[in-house]
């Protein structure tokens, strides 16, 4: 070899990854969203269910609450919270066991994909679908049932953080819950009753104050009740706060409980997530 060849670059031992980490996460997210939108069941049950419910409930309970506030103002809060829980908790608690059962997760583990990319994809999907669903819900309620949207920046801010914390807690719990299901089918069987019970005891369908005290206390252990309560502070007049069990909307406690569920959910995710089925060893 002559000295003139020393400038020839030696093949790099580890060639640069063609796709950078941010792009890797984003393309995983795009794939998840595509997959979601192409699945008719997902679109109908996750995105349209809250819209259908608001049509039914707002049509049946077409009366005003105290002070001329429309019932829609109350009911929309439960539906937004339910929608966020459905896309964060239920859809992941159902979808991930299916992917595990079909070997999708195992196939991904066999590639150089960093583990976090899979979760990033799910989180992006949940955020995109959650936002789209909430916007759709607000639009339908405002157009057809005279919903009054929040009027102050402070209310929008509260709307933002309650939704963000709530959907984060639900997403983490959904991922953690997915490890309970042993088969593709049991995901739905396990998650649906949990979600349904929470909806009934958390003031989604029935005004929270009309529930027995013990039921309120049980509901207060779970995030949905606090999501609904935080959202009521956005969509109902401040005077309604006095009717809450705590005598006010307790936004500080809403933030605390939801944040606690985020931490708990994250710990459960990290501790329990399985890429393979039990029979895979």
């Amino acid at each position: 070899m002559s000295a003139t060849t020393t400038n020839v670059p030696v093949a790099a031992p580890a060639p640069a990854r063609r796709v950078g980490p941010v792009a890797l996460g984003l393309r995983q997210g795009r794939l998840e969203v595509t997959q979601f939108l192409r699945s008719r069941e997902s679109v109908v049950f996750t995105m349209l269910f809250p819209v259908i419910m608001i049509f039914i409930f707002a049509s049946i309970f077409n009366y005003d609450l105290d002070g001329g506030v429309k019932f829609t103002q109350y009911f929309v809060t439960g539906m937004i919270a339910t929608g966020l829980m459905t896309v964060g908790f239920q859809s992941l608690a159902i979808q991930i066991p299916m992917e595990r059962d079909r070997g999708v997760l195992k196939r991904l583990r066999g590639t150089p994909m960093p583990k976090w990319v899979y979760f990033a994809g799910k989180v992006i999907m949940v955020i995109v679908i959650g936002v789209a669903e909430t916007v759709l819900l607000l639009a339908v309620a405002a157009i057809f049932f005279g919903l009054e949207l929040p009027s102050t920046a402070g209310h929008w801010l509260t709307f933002g953080w309650v939704s963000a914390l709530g959907i984060t807690a639900c997403t983490l719990c959904g991922i953690a819950f997915s490890s309970l299901a042993r088969t593709a089918r049991s995901g739905s069987a396990l998650a649906t009753p949990v979600a349904l019970v929470l909806q009934f005891i958390s003031g989604v369908f029935i005004a929270f104050t009309q529930l027995p005290t013990w039921m309120q206390q049980v509901a207060a252990l779970f995030p949905l009740k606090w999501m609904c309560q935080g959202l009521r502070s956005v969509f109902l007049p401040a005077s309604f706060g006095a009717q809450e069990p705590g005598g006010s909307f307790e936004l500080g406690r809403v933030a605390l409980v939801l944040a606690a569920w985020c931490v708990l959910g994250l710990l459960l995710c990290l501790g329990t997530f399985r890429w393979t089925t039990k029979r895979d060893g």
Binding site: A14, P15, A16, R17, R18, V19, L24, R27, L31, T34, Q35, R38, S39, R102, G103, V104, K106, R107, R109, G110, T111, P112, M113, P114, T276, D280, G281
Partner: protein, 282 residues
């Protein structure tokens, strides 16, 4: 020598409770080699392969795959290893092209995904949703995902299950191409003709141990086995003789019958015969 080995296994053990799946297995696979693992269901094939792939933890033994312990699989190592698992994966409502393009993005130096789709014969199905594929087509998609990263070492766990004969031949050509390009290939299969057609060496696993490793034509001393000569007697019965010198026997028969010997066949044990005898010994 170590550098020439793609896989080196010493005293591998794995038990599930009281059930010993792999009980002291030794194995060496050279770089660039096509190695076929044969063995009945439950013999420990898949457990062994999944330990090598970094999916399962072993109880004991030394394992090195491309110079790395697969018990702690790194991203860099995954980048060099292609895996086609047993059974097919489904990707819901995504198309073949979408899935292959997506997986290509995980690797440092992927092959052109469209070329990979063509190599496995799925070009016409590139825009089809994966759930609409037939069993054999899904399997081809699995193979595409295994090779899209241009791996140095490719694991194929029963890759041609569900293939029709033509697709199997096409798959064999693909494996030969990959092997010719220097890819090390470890294959498990139930099809002995497949092992014979593709493998440089075959290993037979039974009861969690590798009982023999050999080239396909020498397995179980097959090349030294007696030939079986059979023919029909004038009474219509089939006569069957085992002989170390079948040519002489045939010549003698030809003389006896004055030309054509009715129903004459001369066979040596197939790989399947040898294999069945070996696993029957256990």
């Amino acid at each position: 020598m170590e550098n020439q080995l793609a896989i080196s296994v010493r005293g591998l053990r794995k038990a599930y409770g009281d059930n010993v799946a792999v009980g002291g297995l030794d194995l060496e696979v050279a770089r660039g080699e096509v190695f076929a693992l044969l063995g009945p269901n439950g013999a420990g094939k898949t457990t062994t392969v999944e330990i090598l792939e970094g999916f399962r933890q072993r109880d004991a033994g030394e394992v090195s795959v491309l110079g790395v312990d697969p018990a702690r699989p790194s991203q860099a190592w995954r980048n060099r290893v292609g895996i086609v698992l047993q059974g097919t994966g489904e990707f819901d409502d995504l198309t073949v092209a979408e899935v292959v393009h997506h997986f290509a993005g995980f690797y440092a130096a992927p092959e052109d995904p469209d070329k990979v789709i063509a190599r496995v014969g799925l070009t016409e199905k590139a825009r089809a949703r994966t759930h609409s594929l037939s069993g054999g087509q899904k399997r081809r998609l699995d193979v595409a995902l295994g090779i899209v990263g241009q791996p140095e070492l490719l694991f194929l766990d029963e890759p041609t299950t569900g293939f029709d004969p033509e697709a199997r031949r096409e798959f064999w050509d693909l494996i030969r191409d990959l092997a010719a390009a220097g890819t090390t290939i470890v294959l498990t299969t139930h099809y002995l003709d497949e092992a014979e057609a593709l493998a440089d060496r075959v290993g037979v696993i039974t009861g969690g141990r590798l009982v023999e490793v050999s080239t396909p034509d020498r397995l179980g001393d097959r090349h030294e086995a007696l030939a079986t000569v059979s023919w029909r007697t004038p009474e219509g019965a089939v006569e069957r003789w085992e002989s170390a010198t079948p040519t002489a026997l045939v010549a003698e028969l030809a003389a006896r019958y004055g030309g054509e010997v009715p129903g004459l066949t001369v066979t040596r044990p197939t790989l399947e015969d040898v294999y069945l005898r070996m696993i029957g010994q256990r």
